[in-house]
Assembly symmetry: C2
Homo-oligomer: 263 residues x 2
């Protein structure tokens, strides 16, 4: 058995500082148990209003944790003192919808017109499930993060922002799914309750073995796939919008806030 230090007990500030110093490069699933993790989208103020409308209209995949003022890169509400240009392990830069660069900081890329969006992430609730005795199969199988799938379901568009819903999948034993619904239902800021349970093809997912992001996770005997809305929907949507320039975190390498998720 490979033992992986997931930094489960780490302090968010410590992780952010290590990211800032480029001394940590790791998927954040299981990291800093109890703290809310976030998807990051940075885009020009010109597009920020429509994107904010998009998030408000699609709160299941895109629950808003914080939106900064143009040119401000400190998330004063959720992680005061942090710097969103340096404190994530991996960033991606898209130009006209194409990934052009992966970086460990984006200080050279942003401008004073940029707005940062922090959107909730289902990593935030995984410890609620495991504390209740539910298995997290991607942890058990030593896979970085839950697999993600583009569905056939369309988000409500706003301006040039629109596209398909993205979901994460976690397999669960049939007799523990009700508890998973109950535990996550009260956390809309982390995508809330599952949006689908069971039959993947109903979401337009043809093959669970071929996720669109991440690595596939095996179902154990008695497992049923459970699907939650995923913040990568935001990445997918801003990419499809083919903006001149957009910066996002790399999927699974989330920003860790100081805000606790309460069970």
């Amino acid at each position: 058995m490979i033992v992986v230090d997931t930094l489960a007990g780490a302090d968010p500030r410590t992780v952010r500082e290590r990211n800032r110093a480029n001394s940590l490069d790791r998927n954040t699933s299981g990291m800093c148990r109890g703290y809310m993790q976030a998807n990051l989208v940075i885009l020009d103020r010109e597009d920020a209003f429509d994107f904010l409308r998009f998030c408000i209209q699609n709160p299941r995949p895109c629950p808003i944790l914080e939106v900064t003022a143009p040119g401000q890169f400190e998330p004063v509400l959720t992680a005061p003192g942090a710097d969103l240009r340096t404190d994530l392990a991996r960033y991606e830069v898209y130009r006209h919808g194409e990934l052009v660069e992966r970086r460990t900081d984006v200080r050279d890329v942003v401008t004073d017109r940029d707005v940062c969006f922090l959107l909730g992430c289902s990593y935030s609730f995984e410890h609620l499930l495991s504390d209740a005795g539910l298995p997290i199969r991607h942890h058990e199988q030593r896979i970085d993060g839950a697999p993600m799938y583009i569905t056939s379901r369309h988000c409500t568009p706003a301006g040039r922002f629109g596209g398909e819903l993205v979901v994460t999948m976690r397999p669960l034993p049939a007799d523990q799914i009700t508890l998973a619904v109950q535990l996550t239902d009260s956390h809309p800021e982390a995508h809330g309750a599952p949006i689908a349970i069971g039959y993947a093809e109903q979401l337009g997912i043809k093959d669970l073995a071929r996720p669109d992001w991440g690595t596939s996770v095996a179902l154990e005997y008695g497992d049923t796939p459970v699907f939650w809305a995923c913040g990568v929907t935001a990445t997918h949507v801003v990419q499809s919008a083919r903006l001149d320039r957009v910066i996002t975190h790399s999927s699974g390498y989330m920003f860790i806030t100081d805000r606790k998720i309460t069970s």
Copy 2:
């Protein structure tokens, strides 16, 4: 299409009076929308205490709505004026665990030592699901009631009462199961939230096409089986106890109370 009058809008008193007059003989699924339906068990006062302990220890399958005093057949709390010896459409009489007789009233069978148990039934919440737009496949497929299965899961025994949990199965589209959990979770008196979702074999159910009571229901495209604890567990358990004499309702032919289920 066959149009069946399910007596959805009927008043419970009217249905009980028609049963008393033996002018109605029908599965009560869909009948008297909004009113709580009940499983009936009548047994000797000698056994009543242990059976009551059994119900308290197994509240998911056996939620207690009312227990009468010995020799009292009027459920004064849930349907004042009713007579539990006549106001159900079908009764079954078991002696030493064997079904010996089916009757439309049991006035000749009961004694003044008998205690009546009314236990919650999932028929009570079906209209909450359909009002919310969820399909009730056994209604759509013109099948009397949800199919019932004996599982491999054992109830907590009390005295001579013990045995396997019985469940009902309702197929639901993958993207509506969360709502079904939420709607039923707040109604423990009608078995509450599903006890399992998805993989039937985890409950020891080998073949969904072969229920232990009722008729099998077909899964539509995109459906996942959803399992709720069932009051027939009580029938199964009293039958297994091989008491000298036990009277129950016939599965699916429930007692309809005057109590409303609130959504």
